[in-house]
Amino acid sequence: MEEVDKILIHALKQVGTDVPEEVDSVKLFSSELVVEAVVSCLRVIDPGLGQGLPTSLPPGMSARFRVGMSLAQACQDIGYKGELGYQTFLYSSEPEIRSLLMFLVEKLPRGSAESSDQSTGKSMLLHKGIAAAMKAELAVPWLPLNCRLHRDAPTHAPDVLYHFHAQPLSLVHSPAGTQPCKEEREYHRDLLPPVTCQISHQPGVVSSLLEQHTAECSAAQEWNHEWNNQGLLSRLTPHEYRLRKRCRLRQRIEEQLRSAAQSSSDTGSHSASDLSDLLQTFKGHSSNAHMLTKGSHFNHTQKFTFTQVCSTVMQVWGGGVENLMNLMNLMNLMNLFYASSVHMYFFDMLCTDGILLLSFHKVLNDINKRDRENEMKRDQIQVKKKTMDLLPHAEENLHKIQALVETSAKRVLSLAAQWEKHRAPLIEENRRLKEICRIQDVSTELESLPQDVSRSAYTQRILEIVSNIKKQKEEIFKILSDTKELQKEINNLTGKLDRTFAVTDELIFKDAKRDESVRKSYKHLAALHENCNQLIQTIEDTGSILREIRDLEEQIESENGNKTVANLERILEDYKASNLFSPMMG
């Protein structure tokens, strides 16, 4: 009962009834409180119905009577099927009030019973804002161009329309977080014109400022997004993560440029479109998540040897490499920043520079290829010379070579075993960390669940109650089966008793005609039977009387809850009060 009362009071508080703190059960509800609760529920369920009803009982007796009747009528209109009348509200009894309040609380629309409205999402707000703005614009009357005042300008087209043309601005601080050098600082301090003077056309100033701001904001957002999704997984600091990403992109650019340079040296045609195609192709791969997975040990060594080859080749190229790296830096920056304001002539300049560099590098490439071929041929000559030298002692040399081959095979095997040994714990750790991640995700999900304490407590209680009821059901079944057993035994015994008595009775009666003592014993038997019957009867009567006592006690308890005496006294007082008035009014 306490849980039910608590739920009722909670719901009534949310509807707007002012339930005082010390009232924690329906028993303690006064008539005023009952009326207030019922009226506030009615107002939520059906505003039209509830508007005409006052929240408090008026002082006059007849007015109170009328209010009680209207409340009862309203509740019955909604669909309450129990007995209702003015007496339910003026002279309330606990079970009636409880059932009425339960009915009303169930009828409350779901939205008002929820405390936190988490459905006003951003999209709903946006839609509402859009609808309000459209309504406001529709309400403004149309005026011809000559009659329009400037204050209406936002809603109507202005005289002049400039195109949104953003140009890059040079700002004072450096975005990458590196400290500028002394000369730069002097330039910033003394010579750099203020931002608004860097562009001559005023709308251009506005567009460039807005564009610059949007670029910074979206770059920050993208970085946040990337860091939250992939950066945290890689478990590096932001600085290391950025460095690694830069190295990766640089490698990819190198590969692409090299392959494109080689293919263009085969076809023999250079044009700006090649470079732009190049840039297009690796721009398309920019979201390749494959690059982020941790490679195995062998993959890393492979990449490492490749970069070593690259760097040695690059060193041979000498000064041209610097330009190439600058070119790649530039393209790196272009790719990493969200630049919507790159002009085509800037890009073309870059392309022509690229063409010159490529042709220069192609020539160097050819020279290097020839050199490498020469090297290879020299190596081959050396090997052949050595084999010629070894030929005279062919047998022992063959044995030596075989021994060498065996030792190297054994070494390979041992290395593989070592690698396996290393791999197993790493895999274990990987699995463990994945577990931890999963647990963390689950716990964050759990925390983000809405903290609705009362609901979970109630569900717990409900589950407890359900299990209790199950146990009680089992006990009742046991008791019922015991009772049935007992009853069967009683029936058996009674039957046996009757049969034995009938047999004994006949037997002794036959002999009683002749013998005096047998007649006496027959009388004793009859008396014994009679007395036992009476005993059994008394026992049964005692049992039924005990049951009646229990029923009456329950009835007394329930009637005591009705406060009938208090209500009767109040009715008497009210009757007296109304009688006092009526003779006056005559």
Partner: protein
């Protein structure tokens, strides 16, 4: 309202009373508003005697930040509460917020901001001002001997865009059914607009 790091940094400098005293604060705001609205391209706009004592780098940083912030405020049409909450986060004192807000909504600045800066940027379809129509009756044509049909010639006068230096009137001819179809579609569009406004 989102602002980038550089804007936040510049505004924090502006809010700092050690860097910008109250007098130089209001002078700075005036200078910033003038530089973007009244006299753009004027390189001497930051050469105010009050601002000469301060570090020019800080002055330029906060100038950029304030100008960007003002343009963003006007673009998003922020009300006073959003503006004050943004500035409070950047540790502006209440009186400085008040001064900023007053300068932002003062009639002079608001007028310039709205008309000159932002609403004259962008591309727009020409707005229809007026309609003139002519009903003609076609009797014959070179291909067909007998036509006997009425046609409408409709001209939609649009607003003149001074930069484009041409009036982009829309001229077309249509049959009666096509005109009815067009009017029906316009009515549908108006109704759906009203419905969207009531959502």
């Amino acid at each position: 309202m989102e602002s980038s790091e550089s804007v936040q940094r510049g505004l924090k400098l502006l809010a700092d009373p050690c860097v910008f005293e109250p007098r130089s604060f209001s002078v700075m705001l005036d200078v910033c508003f003038r530089s973007v609205l009244v006299a753009p391209g004027d390189a001497s706009v930051l050469d105010h005697p009050e601002l000469k004592n301060l570090d020019q780098i800080l002055v330029k940083q906060s100038h950029t930040a304030v100008v960007t912030f003002v343009l963003e405020c006007v673009k998003l049409n922020t009300d006073k509460s959003t503006l004050s909450s943004c500035l409070e986060e950047l540790s502006f004192s209440a009186e400085r917020i008040e001064i900023f807000h007053n300068k932002l909504v003062s009639p002079v600045h608001a007028l310039f901001c709205n008309i000159i800066c932002l609403f004259s940027l962008g591309r727009r379809l020409p707005e229809i001002n007026d309609v003139s129509w002519r009903l003609q009756y076609q009797i014959k044509s070179a291909q067909v001997d007998k036509v006997d049909e009425p046609f409408y010639l409709i001209t939609l006068n649009t607003e003149v865009n001074k930069e484009a230096e041409s009036s982009e009137d829309v001229n077309f001819s249509c049959t009666v059914e096509q005109l009815q179809d067009l009017v029906g579609k316009l009515k549908d569009a108006a109704k759906s607009l009203e419905r969207a406004g009531q959502m």
